[in-house]
Symmetry: C2
DNA sequence: AAATAAAGTTAGATGAGGTTAACATCCCCC
DNA sequence: GGGGGATGTTAACCTCATCTAACTTTATTT
């Protein structure tokens, strides 16, 4: 069992991703993807060829060997699972979750990775309605407010729960469609987000004043199924999150 | 803001730990702790002195500066929180959780770290009785069996849920006291563990045949409060885990 | 088909982080 | 107070991973 450095693992992973996107892999793609200069790619590639993980035709394409492909897939799978865990479950923002996942993927044991995958499976197998707690956790990270049935052990608030809210310390209500549990109805207050997304949503009939009912929320909050003016829509979490609501 | 490599961060962390344990830090302690030869310590130390994070008296002790201490503490705090998360929540075994924590501590963003700390706080603030799901997750990791109210999304079992059980595919019942939720009663089948622990437990009256009632389980399953022969005992999770039971 | 642009390679340098072998210093014990 | 073992330092070397500058090969224009 060869043991690879973080850097070389990233070369393999990048080769896999590029080959999926573009079909073939060239030195400059790899250099761009890894934010590194071409000679670095050539040097590392040589080592990988020596290890039997990569083939390289002089002045031509790079290619993963069977063994290289297998390793790359393992890394990439870890990456995707970690990302899911960080972004969908812990609620870390996309960019950061992406970066962290691509770091952690090299440093996490199979045991821990296994537990995380199991945890994701567990959560996805158990409907969100049944275990209300994910929503409660989201609420907590956003506002620092615990559900009423929770008793703070030391009465101390975490230094991390510092959502620059200038408002008083009353519990803040859910604010966007992404915060609503299944079965709730709400009125659209405002649609935020980028212009492209915004107009797509407005086109669907999601305009201020519209009443939206949340029908089902997938295990990790993605996607959300809603009813708007009698139509059934399935919204991605990112979409639901830009729809500001007044709760009723 | 200086950015340090994994390796140098570990030097600082090790210095903190050694100084807490032994009072002073010497080259050979550091070498032993980091599994590295003395000249490596000297070389890295020189860099750290240059950065103003460490003081070093020739042929004498090493010492963290105020700035070095602060960084070391941050790393060590991350380490401990990650360990808690991995071991107590995800259920990764101690050794592995320790190793993984000491890797992840260098590669995790403040955002993600914050979410993890919040999650631990959240879980600890919400009594286990209320949200039954942690116990259900433990059950799942141990046996691969989901609670009845859960619906497997694809009917596929994870490759990770492979508890080398030679038995049929019937759901395996909980086996040790650590697996029991609050309110359950069970009879001791066998007491395992190391001799010292074993005899301590036997002394407490925990012998095969004894009936034990689980009164309360702390948020992460540590400690467990039980009643044995009318006595109230508080057991550490590690202790409860060596008590094999027949469920009744 | 020649000229030019783009992509890839080589050479040589740098710095981190590790090693072994040899030497220097400290300190305890007789 | 002088040895001798433990500890620390230096020197010389290694690999990995990156860089820049200069060169070669391939691809695209004109
Ligand atoms: Mn990566
Ligand atoms: Mn990655
Ligand atoms: Mn570490
Ligand atoms: Mn650590």
């Amino acid at each position: 069992m060869i043991t690879l450095s973080q850097s070389t693992e990233d070369y393999l992973e990048a080769m896999l991703i590029i080959s999926l996107e573009r079909g073939v892999v060239r030195v400059k793609d790899l250099a761009a993807h890894l934010q590194v200069k071409a000679p670095s790619v050539v040097a590392t590639t040589k080592r990988l060829v020596r290890e039997g993980l990569v083939r390289h035709e002089r002045y031509g394409y790079l290619e993963l060997t069977a063994q290289g492909l297998q390793i790359a897939q393992e890394i990439y799978t870890r990456h995707k699972n970690l990302f899911r865990f960080l972004h969908l479950f812990l609620g870390v923002d996309e960019k950061t979750a992406e970066r962290d996942a691509c770091q952690m993927e090299h440093h996490i044991s199979p045991e821990t990775m296994g537990r995380i995958v199991q945890f994701l499976e567990f959560i996805e197998a158990c409907p969100a309605e049944e275990s209300h707690w994910i929503a409660a956790f989201r609420q907590f990270t956003a506002t620092g407010t615990l559900p009423t049935y929770c008793t703070s052990p030391h009465g101390e608030a975490s230094a991390y729960t510092r959502t620059s809210h200038t408002q008083g310390d009353t519990a803040m209500p859910p604010k966007t469609l992404a915060d609503l549990p299944a079965g709730q109805q709400a009125e659209v207050a405002r649609v935020g987000g980028e212009m492209a997304l915004k107009s797509r949503l407005l086109e669907m009939g999601i305009v201020p004043g519209t009443k939206i009912t949340v029908e089902r929320v997938a295990p990790l909050g993605d996607p959300v199924e809603v009813t708007v003016r009698g139509y059934r829509l399935s919204l991605r979490r990112e979409e639901a999150a830009v729809i500001v609501i007044k709760e009723r």
